[in-house]
Amino acid sequence: MDLGSLAKEAVSRLDSVHSPESLEAFRVDYLGRKGKLTRLFDSLKGLSGEERRSKGQELNELKRLLEEKVKAKAGSVTSSGSKKDSGFDPTLPGLRPPLGRLHPLTQTIREINGIFERLGFEVVEGPEIETEFSNFTALNIPQDHPSRDSFATFYLQSETGRESPLLLRSQTSTVQIRVMQKRKPPLRVVAPGRVYRPDQVDASHSFMFHQIEGLMVDDRTTFSELKGVLQFFLRELFGPGTRIRFRPHFFPFTEPSAEVDVNCFLCQQKGCSVCGGKGWLEVLGAGSVDPSVFEQVGYDLKRVQGFAFGLGVERITMLRHGIPDIRFFFENDLRFLRQF
C-alpha cells in the first residue's frame, strides 16, 4: 500500500470514530508501537539514502497529520460524544427571558377597541375629573336626580374660586359630551376609561371600574344600525353563534333605550348562578341619542341623529374568563396576572 492510499484510508476511518474508545483503537492501529506507520518507519531501514530521506519526510508529514487529527478528534468525542459520559441534560429548564403581561382589563379593552376600529370607530379618551355639566346636565340627568347625590358620585373637595364642584366621572358617557362639544358630525368613537362610584366593595362591585362608551352620530344613524353594530360586535367578542336580545330600558341620555343581553354561554341557557337562572347575561346599555343631549352640545336637532352605548369592562372580562370576583383585578396578585 502506498502512503497516499494509507492516508485516505486513515482519514476515512477517522470519520467513523465517535467515541474515545474507538479513537484509542485507531491511534494504536496507526500510531502505536506496533502500528501501521511505525511499521513503515521500520521498513525505511532497508532503503538507500536519497529514497529513505524523501520517504521519511512524507512519512513524518503523514504521522504529524494523523496525530493532529487524533488530537482534534479527541476534543470532539469527549465533549459531545456518548450520552453516558457528557453532562448534557435537555430536561434542564430553558433559560427564559422574563415574561411580562398586559393586565387582563387592558387586553379586553384592546380587543373591544379593535373590533370597533374595524367598523370605522375611533378610540378617544376624556378626563376622569369632570364637571357636573358633562357628567349629568348635558346627559339629560335632572337637577334633583339621585345619581347626583353624594352617595352615588364622588365629589372633589371644593376649592375657593371653583365655580361649580368637580367630581370623578361616574360614567364614560362624559366623553360623548366632550367629543360633541369639540367636533361636528359625522362621528364614530369609542372611549374606554376609569369611572368611579362610591359603592362598597364586594365580589361584583368596586368604587373604581372601567367602561367603554360608544357614540355614532351623523344625519341618518338609526336604531336598526345600533342593533347591527352591536350584533356584529357581540358576535366578534363572544363567538359567531351568540344569541342577542335588545330589551327596552331607560337611560336619561338615550331614547329609545335598550339593555342588551347575550345568551348565557356558561349554562347554555339552562339557568345558572351567573345568569341568575335567566339564561341571559346583560352586557350593554344602549340607545338612540336623546335629542336633549344634542341640544346641550349645540347640535342642530334637524340634522343629527345617532346612537350611544356603554359597557362594563370588568363584567365582560369576568364573564369571558370565568373570574368570580372583581377584586382580583385591583389586587394585582402576580399569580392572577400570570394567567392571562
Binding site: P98, G100, L102, P127, F330
Partner: protein, 684 residues
C-alpha cells in the same frame, strides 16, 4: 316591586302560562326579574324592576295597564264610587301654606270605624306584595297604595288638635316623633302636616306617633295629596327616613290618583269597617297638569329614527293599546293625547320609543351603516400609551391596575407634600380620600402583597393618571408611567443571582426612550424626598420623570423584603419630545476601529463627564463610547474607581487608518488622564 298576579286579574285578563307573560313584559321594558310561586297564598308573584322614568309601574294597576298594551286586552278599574252627597265636616279646615311642596291636598273625615280583622284576601295580597298586615285601617291605606299607587295617610281625627290641618314648613328645631319610633329635629326645609299646635306628619314620608291610629280610634282623618318629589326626597334623605309612601312621592305620583285613591279607600272603609259617616272632601290647592297633554307625531319621524318600515295603522293601534289617544292629523300624522299617569311622554321621540317597545325591539332589523367612516383625529397620547404597555410587558414586567384613590396616611413616611393633592369630599372609607399624586403607595402595597405570597421578583408597571391641583381653580390629571422593580433579577439556573438595582431600572428606561426615538436625554442626580440614590430624567432641560431607590423609611413602613426601585415618567411631557416620524440615517459603510481606554479616577467624578470629554476630543470620528467595566478595591486605592471604556472610531467618508487612530486615541487618553488627574493604564 312585588306584583301579585291574582290581584292583576281584577283588572286584566292574565292568560297562562305566567312565564310567557313575564317574558313579554320583560321584552317590553318592564323586567320581571323573578317569578315566585306562593302556595301559602295561592298566588304567583312577579318581582318587577321599575325603571326611574316609569313610577306609574309602582302599582298593580300600573302594571295592569302595561299588560293591556302588551297583551292587547281590556282594562277594568276597581270600584271607587261612593255616595255623592256627603256632609261637610263641621269645623274642620285645611290651611295650605306651602303650595310648591304640596300643590294639591285633600282630606275627609271617616267616622264610626269598627275594628275588625282584615279579610284574608286583603291580607294575602298585601303579603304577596311584601307588606306585613298591621291593622285594618293601615292595611286599607297600604292596599290602595299598592293597588293604584296613591300613598294615603290616616290620622286619628280625635288626636288632631283644633280641627285644623296646616301644610307648612317645619319650624326650626321642631321635634318630631315618627310612627317607627325615631325622633327627628326638623328644619325649615322640611314640609310637614301640622294641626293647630304641632307637627303630626312629615309630608309624604311618615306620620307622627302622637296622631297614629290605635285600638281606641273611631274617627279617621284620611289624607290624600300630591307632594312635590324633590321636597319629599330631600326630607327623606335628611332624616334617613324612607317608606313605601316616600318611595312613590319621590318618583312622582299621578296627580289624578289623589282623588281616585281617596275614593277607592273610602269605598273600602265603607265596605270593610262599617264606617257610619264619610264627610265631603276638603281640598286645597290645584292638581298639577302635565307639561304637554298632546304630542304631534308623524310616520316619517318613526321610520327615520328606527330605520324600519312600519304601517300607519300599526302606530295608531299601538298608541291606543297604551291608553294614549291618537287623533289623525292627516294619513300619516297624529296628535296624541297623553294621560296624566304618563308625564314621561313629552316629545315625539318618547312616543317613538313606546311604539318600538310595544311592537318589539326584536322586530327591528339589524343593519350595518354603509357610509364611510368619519375622518379621525390623531391620538398620539393613546398610541404612546399602547407602545409603552407593549414595551414593558415585552421586557418582562407585569401591568397593574391600581386604585386612583389612596389613603393619605400611607404617604406619611414618604415625605411627599400633599398640599397640592386633590381630595375627595365624600369618601366611602376615611382611608381612600386622596387622588394619588404618585404611584408610590400603590406599588409598595402591590409589592408587599406579592412578597407575602412568596414572589421573589416583583416587576410592575402601570399607565394611568396622577392627579394634582392645577394653577388657578383647575384640577390636573397627567397620564403617567410608573415602574417598580424589586427582588431577584430573574435569571435561570446557570447564572448567579443578584438583586435588581438602580441600573436595571435605568436600563429599562433607556431602552424605552431609544425605542421611542428620543435622543439627548440625560439623568442627573437629584434629591427626591421619598427616594434615595435618585435622579431625574431630562430631555432638553425639561424634567420628564424621576427614578431611584425607595427610601429605607418607606421600605420599613411597608415591611418589604427587597429594596424597591421606582420610576415615574409623564407620558404627556414625553410625547412632546418624540419625533413624529423617524428619519432614515445612513448606515456607515467603512469599518470601525475599537480602542480601549482605562482610567482610575476619584469616586466623585461621574462617568458622563469623562465620556463627554472623550467625545469632545474625538474630532467627529468617535461613534460610540461604552463603559465595559467598573472596578473598585484590589490595587485601586479607597475612594477611587477604575473605569474601562471601549471607544469606537468610525467615519462616514473613508476607511480610517489604524496608525492614525492609534495616535488620536493616545492623545485623547493622555488628555483625559491629565484632565481627571488619575492613574492611567494603557491597554493594547
Amino acid at each position: 316591586m312585588k306584583i301579585s298576579t291574582n290581584w292583576l286579574k281584577d283588572f286584566v285578563t292574565v292568560s297562562p302560562p305566567l312565564e310567557g307573560l313575564a317574558d313579554r313584559l320583560t321584552m317590553a321594558g318592564l323586567e320581571v326579574k323573578k317569578i315566585e310561586t306562593r302556595p301559602d297564598l295561592k298566588d304567583t308573584v312577579f318581582e318587577v324592576e321599575v325603571t326611574t322614568n316609569r313610577p306609574d309601574w309602582l302599582s298593580h294597576l300600573g302594571v295592569a295597564r302595561e299588560i293591556r298594551a302588551v297583551e292587547n286586552t281590556g282594562l277594568k278599574l276597581p270600584p271607587f264610587q261612593n255616595p255623592e252627597h256627603r256632609p261637610m265636616p263641621s269645623g274642620w279646615r285645611i290651611d295650605l301654606k306651602e303650595a310648591e311642596g304640596c300643590p294639591y291636598y285633600s282630606a275627609c273625615l271617616i267616622e264610626g270605624v269598627e275594628w275588625r280583622e282584615t279579610p284574608d284576601w286583603m291580607r294575602n295580597r298585601l303579603a304577596a306584595s311584601g307588606l306585613r298586615p298591621i291593622n285594618l285601617i293601615v292595611d286599607i291605606t297600604n292596599y290602595v297604595l299598592l293597588e293604584g299607587g296613591q300613598p294615603l295617610h290616616a290620622f286619628d281625627a280625635d288626636l288632631i288638635r283644633g280641627k285644623e290641618i296646616q301644610i307648612r314648613c317645619a319650624k326650626p328645631e321642631e321635634n318630631f316623633l315618627a310612627i317607627d319610633g325615631s325622633r327627628h329635629v326638623l328644619s325649615a326645609e322640611d314640609l310637614v302636616i301640622a294641626d293647630k299646635e304641632r307637627t303630626v306628619a312629615l309630608a309624604g314620608v311618615m306620620g307622627g306617633k302622637e296622631s297614629e291610629v290605635n285600638e281606641r280610634t273611631r274617627n279617621l282623618l284620611l289624607e290624600s295629596a300630591f307632594f312635590h318629589p324633590r321636597w319629599v326626597r330631600k326630607t327623606s334623605l335628611r332624616h334617613g327616613l324612607a317608606s313605601e309612601s316616600s318611595y312613590r312621592f319621590e318618583r312622582r305620583v299621578d296627580p289624578e290618583s289623589v282623588d281616585f285613591g281617596r275614593e277607592r279607600a273610602i269605598y273600602l272603609f265603607r265596605e270593610l269597617t262599617g264606617a257610619r259617616m264619610v264627610s265631603a272632601t276638603l281640598k286645597a290647592g290645584r292638581k298639577p297638569t302635565p307639561a304637554k297633554s298632546r304630542i304631534h307625531l308623524s310616520l316619517e319621524q318613526v321610520k327615520k329614527i328606527l330605520g324600519m318600515e312600519i304601517k300607519p295603522s300599526q302606530i295608531h293601534s299601538t298608541l291606543t293599546r297604551l291608553g294614549l289617544e291618537p287623533k289623525n292629523e292627516g294619513p300619516e300624522a297624529w296628535g296624541v293625547g297623553i294621560p296624566s299617569y304618563r308625564p314621561d311622554l313629552e316629545r315625539p321621540i318618547d312616543l317613538i320609543e313606546e311604539v318600538a317597545r310595544i311592537i318589539g325591539y326584536d322586530k327591528i332589523p339589524e343593519t350595518l351603516p354603509s357610509r364611510p367612516p368619519a375622518e379621525a383625529e390623531p391620538h398620539p397620547l393613546r398610541q404612546l400609551e399602547e407602545k409603552t404597555q407593549d414595551f414593558f410587558a415585552g421586557a418582562g414586567l407585569f401591568e397593574t391596575v391600581t386604585f386612583s384613590l389612596v389613603n393619605p396616611n400611607s404617604f406619611d413616611s414618604s415625605g411627599i407634600d400633599l398640599l397640592g393633592a386633590e381630595r375627595i369630599h365624600n369618601p366611602i372609607h376615611q382611608e381612600l380620600t386622596l387622588l394619588r399624586p404618585s404611584f408610590l403607595v400603590s406599588f409598595l402595597e402591590t409589592q408587599s402583597r406579592n412578597e407575602r405570597a412568596g414572589e421573589r421578583t416583583v416587576t410592575l408597571f402601570e399607565v394611568g393618571n396622577l392627579y394634582s391641583k392645577a394653577h388657578g381653580n383647575d384640577s390636573r390629571e397627567e397620564k403617567s408611567l410608573g415602574i417598580l422593580l424589586a427582588g431577584d433579577r430573574e435569571k435561570g439556573w446557570s447564572d448567579s443571582k443578584r438583586n435588581l438595582n438602580f441600573f436595571d431600572l435605568k436600563g429599562l428606561v433607556e431602552s424605552y426612550l431609544d425605542l421611542l426615538g428620543i435622543e439627548a436625554y440625560s439623568f442627573s442626580p437629584q434629591e427626591i424626598s421619598f427616594l434615595e440614590e435618585s435622579a431625574v430624567l431630562k430631555v432638553k432641560n425639561e424634567t420628564l420623570g424621576i427614578l431611584g431607590k425607595v427610601s429605607a423609611r418607606a421600605q420599613t413602613a411597608w415591611d418589604l423584603r427587597h429594596p424597591s426601585f421606582l420610576a415615574e415618567l409623564s407620558l404627556e411631557k414625553l410625547l412632546r419630545h418624540i419625533p413624529p416620524v423617524k428619519k432614515f440615517r445612513e448606515i456607515p459603510r467603512f469599518p470601525a476601529i475599537e480602542r480601549d481606554l482605562s482610567i482610575v479616577v476619584e469616586d466623585s467624578v461621574t462617568m458622563q463627564e469623562i465620556v463627554h470629554h472623550i467625545e469632545r476630543l474625538g474630532k467627529g470620528l468617535i461613534r460610540r463610547v461604552e463603559l465595559f467595566d467598573l472596578f473598585r478595591g484590589g490595587r485601586i486605592p479607597k475612594g477611587q474607581k477604575n473605569l474601562a471604556f471601549r471607544v469606537t472610531y468610525q467615519s462616514l467618508e473613508k476607511t480610517l487608518l489604524s496608525e492614525e487612530i492609534q495616535r488620536l486615541h493616545e492623545a485623547i487618553a493622555s488628555e483625559i488622564a491629565g484632565k481627571f488627574q488619575a492613574a492611567f493604564q494603557k491597554k493594547v
